[in-house]
């Protein structure tokens, strides 16, 4: 396996990772800075944080801070998971034994397994962090609906990132193993 092909394959996914990574890190930095107002806080207040804090007289900031922290953690961890699985697949795709025409399709099973593991891990992360887990102080302030929304948001963002990475980074000769990757131009 020529290393230069692998390095070549990393260019476009690298750009994707840079763009999405920049967004993730910026957002998580904002969250960790415990903002007091702004769109994020409004969203958390209206859709995520339980109304129970009001009946318990708990100051909003007492809940918002930990919720922002846990949200930030999930963003960073989600980014890490996506990079590992996305680039992991890109590397693996170069080592899979596509030794003739028609062989690449067989390895779609590997891609499906990789993708399912990736999505599963993201969902487990959400369950662990948002849905009533006790590892994070902020989890207790998040409603079921709010947790669902955060999970969906994370999934949409990182699944898109993952898909673009694998779409653009999969070894050319193994493209048939990735959904719709065959539609890419042959020289991309």
């Amino acid at each position: 396996m020529k290393i230069k092909y692998l390095i070549k394959s990393l260019i476009y996914p690298g750009i994707v990772a840079a763009v999405f990574g920049f967004l993730s890190i910026s957002f998580s930095t904002l969250l960790f800075s415990n903002p007091e107002d702004g769109g994020v806080i409004n969203f958390l207040a209206n859709h995520v944080i339980t109304g129970e804090i009001e009946s318990q007289g708990t100051p909003f900031a007492d809940a918002a801070g930990p919720v922002c922290n846990v949200f930030g953690y999930s963003v960073v961890t989600g980014l890490a998971i996506t990079l590992i699985f996305g680039f992991g697949w890109v590397v693996i795709s170069h080592f899979l034994n596509v030794d003739g025409p028609g062989k690449s399709k067989i390895y779609s099973i590997y891609w499906i397994i990789n993708s399912a593991a990736f999505a599963g891990l993201l969902i487990i992360l959400s369950l662990f962090v948002f849905f009533g887990g006790t590892t994070f102080l902020g989890s207790q302030f998040i409603t079921g609906g709010g947790a669902t929304k955060l999970t969906i948001g994370l999934l949409v963002f990182y699944v898109l990132m993952y898909y673009l990475i694998v779409l653009l980074g999969t070894a050319r000769h193994n493209r048939s193993s990735v959904l719709l990757a065959f539609k890419l131009p042959g020289n991309l």
């Binding site: 960790f32 800075s33 318990q56 100051p59 953690y73 006790t134």
Partner: protein
């Protein structure tokens, strides 16, 4: 640099994710609950005793013996005079349409049929032994604020005396009696009866009599403080009714001061009150007898509850409490340097009572799950008796017959004749007690705890 610090803080939080405010913050400021018993104390010292005997005609059936039946009335009246004398200087009266004092020598006559015959002029007698003016007796009892009043009567009161202005005349003195901290004990005793029961209302508006009864209950009303009432009652049951089948006598106290003493005064709360709390730091405020529990607890813990026997705070044989209330105020904070945040109107705790016990569950069925861990809480909880019950109605229900049913009852030629409108009378008494009743504190305590995950 700021970002790095934020990230490191976050990592610190991640590692030490179970923040515990080990240090107990100063409690929030709030209006303290008073645990002092506010019960109107009726003097325990010996006082005058007034005994009133119902002189209505139908009462003579109690004093006529009949074979095979125990005439407990005579025994009780005999014992009652002694018991009353022990309680204090006793004065006796006969009442019917009016109250007539009787001297000690005439008391013996109470157990004779002749007592119930009218001695005065025919027109006076026509009314005197044909009416039972309990209201006059109650008025007399009202007048004697520190005295004990004992009334012996068959309590056969027609409905017309229990409505409208007649009811009011009955109720007014009762109110005053109960307001002054007095209670009314009602001892009903089934006794032999050989006589005629008059004034049995018929459906057509007329009245009938019945002479077929062999047994019929009579009643001893004792108006005084709880202690006296129970004392007299106990003496009666120990002396007169000692061999008497318990089915044949019933007792109840009607009062607006059911709580004998709250749990705080009794120093009920200790380190073992809550079984799930180990090594609790129990502090008791000496001046107002208010315990404060300090502890740390996990959200997963089972119920924070305690049970207490009703007899600990409730007057025996009283009407009981039909409704308990919990008043709670909760504050929380996550930082001792910040002020406490008070919970809005919510009810976490609940209270329930069986026949024997009162169960108080702090934080209810959800327990501590509803609270956010990582914070310190201060809960001020008061358990209050909110409404009187009406146990006595069920106690005496088997001896009651309502006016609309008495004719049919009489037509069955019963051997044991019931008391007309007994339940109604009890309801009147109960309603007065209820009106005079004020929600009373049963127990109050504070909890200051760190809630862990």
């Amino acid at each position: 640099m700021g970002t790095i610090r934020t990230i490191l803080s976050f990592l610190f939080l991640i590692i030490f994710i179970s923040p515990s405010l080990a240090k107990k913050c100063n409690p929030p400021s709030f209006a303290k609950v008073s645990t002092i018993n506010n019960k109107n104390k009726v003097s325990d010292s010996k006082k005058n005793v007034f005994v009133f005997f119902d002189g209505s005609q139908s009462m003579d059936g109690y004093v006529k013996n009949q074979p095979g039946e125990k005439n407990i009335f005579i025994d009780l009246v005999d014992d009652l005079t002694q018991i009353a004398e022990i309680a204090g200087p006793t004065k006796y009266h006969r009442f019917g349409k009016r109250i007539t004092p009787i001297d000690e020598n005439q008391v013996v006559q109470v157990t004779k049929p002749t007592f119930y015959n009218c001695q005065a002029g025919a027109s006076d007698c026509a009314l005197d032994n044909q009416e039972t003016r309990l209201d006059l007796v109650f008025k007399a009892a009202q007048a004697g604020k520190d005295s004990t009043v004992i009334i012996v009567t068959d309590l056969f009161v027609s409905s017309k005396h229990l409505v409208g202005s007649r009811r009011a005349t009955l109720v007014r003195p009762l109110k005053d009696i109960l307001q002054n901290g007095k209670s009314i004990g009602l001892l009903g005793v089934m006794s032999s009866f050989k006589g005629t029961i008059y004034d049995i209302p018929k459906k057509d508006g007329t009245e009938a009599t019945y002479s077929g009864a062999k047994r019929r209950p009579f009643y001893v009303l004792i108006i005084g403080n709880d202690k006296e009432i129970l004392d007299i009652k106990n003496k009666i049951t120990e002396q007169t009714l000692v061999d008497y089948d318990k089915k044949n006598y019933k007792f109840s106290i009607i009062t607006s001061n059911l709580i004998s003493e709250n749990l705080n005064s009794q120093k009920f709360f200790n380190n073992n009150t809550f079984s799930i709390l180990q090594n609790t730091d129990l502090k008791v405020s000496n001046d107002i007898n208010l315990p404060t529990y300090n502890f740390s607890i996990s959200r997963k813990k089972k119920r924070l509850k305690f049970d207490v026997p009703l007899s600990k705070f409730l007057i025996k044989d009283s009407n009981g409490i039909s409704e308990y209330k919990i008043v709670e105020n909760i504050w929380s904070t996550n930082d001792c340097s910040k002020s406490w945040s008070k919970f809005k109107e919510i009810q976490y705790s609940d209270v329930s009572a069986s026949d024997e016990n009162l169960s108080v569950r702090l934080f209810g069925t959800k327990n501590l799950d509803k609270l956010f861990y990582g914070r310190q809480y201060f809960a001020q909880v008061s358990v209050i008796a909110n409404k009187i019950g009406n146990n006595n109605e069920s106690v005496f229900s088997e001896w009651d017959v309502e006016e609309q049913a008495i004719e049919d009852f009489k037509n069955t030629e019963p051997v044991d004749f019931k008391t007309l409108n007994l339940k109604k009378i009890l309801r009147v008494l109960n309603s007065v007690a209820e009106e005079e009743f004020k929600p009373t504190l049963i127990a109050a305590l504070n909890l200051q705890f760190d809630l862990e995950k």
